[in-house]
Amino acid sequence: MKYWIGAAVILLAAVGLALSGINEYFFFAGYVVLTFVVLATAWNILGGYAGYVNFGTPAFFGLGAYSAAVLFKALGAPLLLQIVAGAVMGGLLGFGVGLLTLRLRGIFFAIATVAVIFIMETLMVNWRYVGGATGLQLLRPPVPEPFDSYTRMLFVVMALMAVVAVSVARYVQVSWIGRGLRAIRDSEEAAECSGVPTLRLKLFACVVSGALMGAAGAPMPMYLSFIEPASTFNLSYTIGALGGAIIGGMSHWLGPIVGAILLGSLQQIVTVTVSGEVNVLVVGVLLVLFVVAAPEGILGLFRKRTLARRK
């Protein structure tokens, strides 16, 4: 119950901010941070809970973005439909990739996810309808009341999506699905022997993860009024999702939120004041540091300190 009250408060805060007079750029930057919350949370369902590393976040994200763009260009579809389409396509891709490679060892799954990124990108580059490598200019539809600008509306939409994603992750974590995934992570052979339906659970996690990432990608074309393959399928989404989850803490649904907000805000500040590259460097270094020295992430460090204090 506490959780749902908290979620409602966050949503109300988001709407309140959007209707207030704060500088427009806050929403431009905030949208990106919220996107990373969704991506990191989605990544963690498969990566943190089940232990299968997905490098292919850009593939799912990009597929969601392009599905939305195609629907918008062909039918003038409203944003909600675009998001649903993104989720569906992301889920389907997750199912396909999962079926193909989840029977193999972890690293093969990871490499296969990298392959999917490049193949998706190549497909979009060769599809003239979405503009190929040139890209597509998109004119936003008029903003619905009561929002002042489209970006503010997208900010609230993404906040809602973040709440949905975290709720899904929380449900998976505490349910029997989460127990099964944890068993797979700890020892897949033992889990199999105990009768856990490993393949089905892994596929489920893959589909849910993919669908959330696809949904996160869907508002992107509207956000930029432009879409093109190279930046949409960029590997920096991988490091943002993976980094956010690992740095925040992989075992609990709070972890990716903490990690994503930290990394997202860092990105906005460092990119604007120093450079985009320094930001990626910082994230990379943090990732390596945490992976080596603090594998439980920020949440883990926090837990250790509170435990130590209690003693």
């Binding site: 750029y25 431009f28 490598a133 040139t134 930029l224 009024s225 432009f226 190279a230 604007v272």
Partner: protein, 412 residues
């Protein structure tokens, strides 16, 4: 009137005057992103220097409307994904008064919907047909072309003079090259040329040997290339390495980058025979341009950028001149007022007089097609001589006839 009211009125007047003066002391902010690294970087840096020269010149004369001009510029790395964020920041965080587009079609295309939806004036910077779909009425391009015909007529015309019957297209899959390719294909058809090869390549392609081999196998008379600097260099090197075949009479047309001095110098004799577009070559007499280029050359050597500065800098300085003329004449910074003025009046610049069509492009294009001849390696100063780039088009500036076949002119 009672004294207290007089004093209050006086205070009010002083307060208003002070705030008015304070506002007047606020600089006028002009903002843009310029590709200073990445494919267009070499040209971008030269263009940036020209704009900085204009800002200095204007501030030395007392600024615009009595206010100093402040120039805010970021590097977009020729990456179209970065420009929407940069221009949003310029508008919402830096709060600029005026916008200049980044140099180049590829970085500019993504911000067209943004400026149209916010209804802002945008001074274009060497983009090609980037306003085609958005149809913004406050867009003004500084480049001397309008549509594909203004560009390719000279090139295809030169080919036809040589009796060409077949044509091959090699175009990068990006906004500039595709805009030009789409137009050129139409014109080639109208001119009765048969297309024997037509290939788009991803902008990040570095190895063109297989494409050049395929072009050679198709035995075209004309090879029309539309490329950005990185690919232009790679294509010239590939042609140099494996050859494009004896059938080719005419090669080049739309290769961006072969106008940047560092690239011209590094390619050297590999350029010979290529017929390519340009905006200014030595010999063209625009009022004030030679004096500008002399001043520019001194600063360029200090700043370590393109020392000759033929292609972009005069036209970037012209952007500043156009803003200056419009603001001074209308005494306003309102974007609608400025846009109306530029639409209705002739702009006087160091690259000649400019009048705009309703789409924001030049009403009378002045694209030059020139052939590289007698270029030697590792020599920058040779490009100052008029004969190194023989002007084939337009008629009024012509300095020679095209020489073919292509491979023979290169001595290979």
């Amino acid at each position: 009137m009672r004294p207290i009211r007089l004093i209050a009125a006086a205070f009010a007047a002083i307060a208003m005057l002070a705030s008015g003066l304070a506002a007047a002391q606020q600089p006028i902010k002009v903002g843009m992103s310029m590709p200073q690294t990445g494919s267009l970087g070499a040209g971008g840096k030269a263009a940036l220097l020209a704009l900085q020269m204009w800002v200095e010149d204007v501030n030395a004369k007392g600024g615009l409307l009595g206010r100093k001009v402040e120039f805010i510029v970021y590097d977009d790395q020729t990456n179209p994904a970065l420009t929407p964020g940069i221009y949003t920041k310029l508008l919402d965080v830096d709060k600029v008064d005026l916008l200049i587009a980044p140099y180049g079609t590829v970085p500019t295309a993504p911000i067209m919907p943004l400026v149209k939806q916010r209804d802002l004036l945008l001074m274009g910077n060497f983009s090609f047909q980037v306003n085609r779909t958005v149809k913004h009425d406050k867009w003004f391009n500084n480049a001397p072309w309008s549509d594909a015909a203004s560009w390719s007529d000279g090139f295809i015309g030169a080919g036809q003079k040589l009796g060409a019957k077949t044509i091959a297209f090699l175009a990068a899959d990006q906004e500039f090259a595709q805009n030009l390719a789409n137009g050129a294909r139409e014109l080639a058809k109208k001119a009765g040329l048969q297309t024997v090869y037509d290939q788009n390549y991803p902008p990040a392609t570095v190895d063109f040997s297989s494409m050049i081999r395929a072009v050679r196998a198709a035995k075209p008379d004309i090879v029309f290339v539309m490329s950005y600097p990185n690919d232009s260099v790679a294509i010239v090197r590939a042609v140099n390495e494996i050859g494009v075949g004896d059938s080719v009479k005419l090669f080049g047309g739309g290769m961006v980058g072969l106008q940047f001095t560092p690239i011209m110098e590094s390619l050297g004799s590999s350029l010979n025979g290529i017929v390519n577009y340009n905006t200014y070559v030595p010999g063209l007499k625009y009022p004030g341009v030679e004096e500008f280029l002399q001043r520019y050359a001194k600063k360029a050597v200090e700043a370590k950028v393109d020392p000759l500065g033929f292609y972009l800098p005069p036209f970037n300085y012209a952007i500043g001149q156009m803003l200056e003329q419009a603001i001074t004449a209308t005494k306003s910074l309102d974007h609608k007022v400025l846009a109306d003025y530029i639409h209705k009046n002739e702009m006087k610049t160091i690259v000649g007089p400019i009048r705009y069509g309703p789409d924001g492009e030049w009403a009378s294009p002045r694209v030059v097609q020139a052939q590289f001849r007698g270029i030697v390696d590792k020599n920058t100063e040779q490009f100052r001589q008029p004969g190194k780039q023989v002007i084939l088009h337009p008629e009024q500036f012509k300095t020679g006839e095209v020489v073919a076949p292509f491979e023979k002119v290169r001595g290979k």
